[in-house]
Amino acid sequence: MTIATRPDAAPTGVPDRSRSAARRRKQLRNLGVFLLLAGPNVALLLIFVYRPLLLSFYYSTLQWNLGSSVARFVGLGNYVQWFSDPQTPMVLATTAVFGIASVGGSLVLGLALALALNRRLFGRGLVRTVSFAPYVLSGIAVGMLWLYIFDPRYGLLATVLGWLGLDSPQWYTASPWALVMIIIVYLWKHVGYVALIYLAGLQSIPQDLKDAAALDGATWWRTFRSIVLPLLGPVTFFLLITTMLSALQSFDLIRAMTDGGPLGSTTTLMYQIYLEGFQTGRAGYASASATILFLILLAITAVQLKYMEKRVHYS
């Protein structure tokens, strides 16, 4: 036993047969240990991630209400219905506007904040802490507290707008404003995270490069555009993908602030799955929506993985 502890151990003087028997025993024991250690986690993944993934594809071919024992096979009927539903273009447009505005906004604001924090200014530790804090808070709670701030009469924002001589829009009930409101809150919650990732990226840019540019008489803007921004490319790409994935799956803010309204103007694809599946109860139809969302997310992830592979070679 002690001699052949490893299957790949160098040949020793022990006769072949007993060594291979020991090796088999060892392999068997390893198998047992492996199953004991990795088994529970893998089993949970199979039951609560992979099983529902496949089941969701299956459900999407059924006309079936949640909790009902009757289901009718309709093939691709739910998908046909989804694509021909007059609501679908609006859901897709809302999802796209929300995704692009929240991703674009958090990247631009996050980079600006990171650039400011990258200078040696007094109190920047405080700024970093304060701006990251919302990221660790419950989306429901954040939605709730901002709902109060957006209150068109008694909200803090109405007063601030009043100082500027502006009237508060009807954030809760007017169509484009409800979505704008959710995007603003999304930015507030995520900008600190983006800034921190950008800050790490900025600090990995060699100072020599910037010094050389300064010696050549380059302006700040030119250095930024020709040196800093290109070197931040990989970070930007990473953030683009991950914030897009998280924006497309965001749920809590919409649930707390508008519940998809007014008139469906804040119903994203993600929110549609919830409304159809658990409010209307059309589980089959909701599963079709879920499958479509899954395919969109998978496509975005595929782009990322392809790129990540390149990056591995690069570094």
Binding site: F48, V130, L137, G139, L156
Partner: protein, 307 residues
């Protein structure tokens, strides 16, 4: 130990190293021009604005929790409450079992995050150190789960939990989210960087896998374990969609679910009561964040470098 920084990677993202490029900045300071001073002044104004935008909503929430209804609807706005009385908190407690919900959240968060870290450690150890032929396939299975959005699993998982009669139960809330993919991934990264010789020596001394995991691997992985634990605690505390779907009995609800229940019961715009409850949900996380900022940030931004 140099490899440790690789697994808990965003060294630049946590506070201390950020202040380190001091030598680079001093030459800049020597040849300071008026333009740079103006720029800095502008930046200070910008940063001050940023601090206000980020912090005032939170302060406003805390203040509103103490205001009376009359104070909440007075125009122009009344900035500070007349008295700091816990009336709104009392009304929250009358409307929903907030104490019970707090304990539910606390218990579910601690048990859920603890088990998740435990499962992740065991699984990562098996994948890295236990020599079986299919271990890489198992790892791919775990990693691919990271790409499957939770949203697609809610309807089938709901029907499963309902058929087990586990709606409104703690196991129904905890179990579906228990599997560790992110943790396993980070732990594996870290385990592969550990000095293999230590483990081989332990094996020669007759230490079995279980002992090697807890006596050698775990103590050598403290920063990564801390990062993963903290991230799990934060995400479990804030988790909303799943606990909301499987509970309609207030006695088993978690705090965020209770918050929307309160919104439904007490009316959309009963701000004093709603803000008091919001304080109960957010302040524990804020305190947690302020105390453990560095490690928490390291964990939350870990994905950025490891992918």
């Amino acid at each position: 130990m140099t490899v440790t920084t690789k697994t808990v990677p965003p060294a630049g993202a946590d506070p201390a190293p950020a202040d380190s490029p001091a030598p680079a900045a001093s030459p800049r300071r020597r040849r300071r021009r008026p333009g740079a001073i103006a720029l800095d002044a502008g930046l200070y104004v910008g940063l001050l604005l940023a601090v206000l935008v980020m912090s005032v909503p939170l302060i406003w929430m805390v203040l509103a929790g103490f205001k009376t209804n009359a104070e909440l609807v007075s125009l122009p706005l009344q900035w500070l409450p007349e008295q700091f009385m816990p009336d709104n908190y009392q009304r929250v407690a009358e409307a929903i079992p907030i104490g019970r919900m707090f304990l539910n959240s606390l218990g579910i968060t601690i048990v859920g995050a603890g088990l998740k870290v435990f499962l992740g450690l065991c699984c990562a150890y098996a994948v890295v150190f236990v020599d079986v032929p299919f271990r890489n396939a198992v790892f791919v299975l775990v990693i691919f789960a990271l790409l499957i959005p939770g949203q697609i699993t809610i309807i089938p998982n709901y029907t499963l939990i309902a058929s087990l009669d586990w709606l409104n139960s703690y196991q129904g809330i905890i179990l579906p989210g228990l599997a560790s993919a992110f943790g396993t991934f980070l732990f594996r990264q870290h385990f592969r960087s550990l000095p293999i010789s230590v483990l081989e020596a332990a094996e020669l001394d007759g230490a079995g896998h279980w002992r090697r995991l807890w006596r050698f691997v775990v103590p050598m992985s403290a920063p990564t374990i801390a990062a993963v634990s903290l991230v799990s605690l934060v995400t479990d505390w804030n988790e909303y969609l799943w606990p909301m779907l499987v509970t309609d009995n207030a006695r088993v609800m978690t705090l965020p679910v209770g918050l929307t229940l309160l919104q439904d019961i007490d009316g959309m715009q009963n701000w004093g009561v709603l803000m008091a409850a919001t304080v109960v949900v957010t302040v524990p996380m804020l305190v947690f964040f302020l105390i453990l900022q560095r490690r928490l940030v390291a964990g939350l931004t870990a994905g950025a470098v490891t992918g």
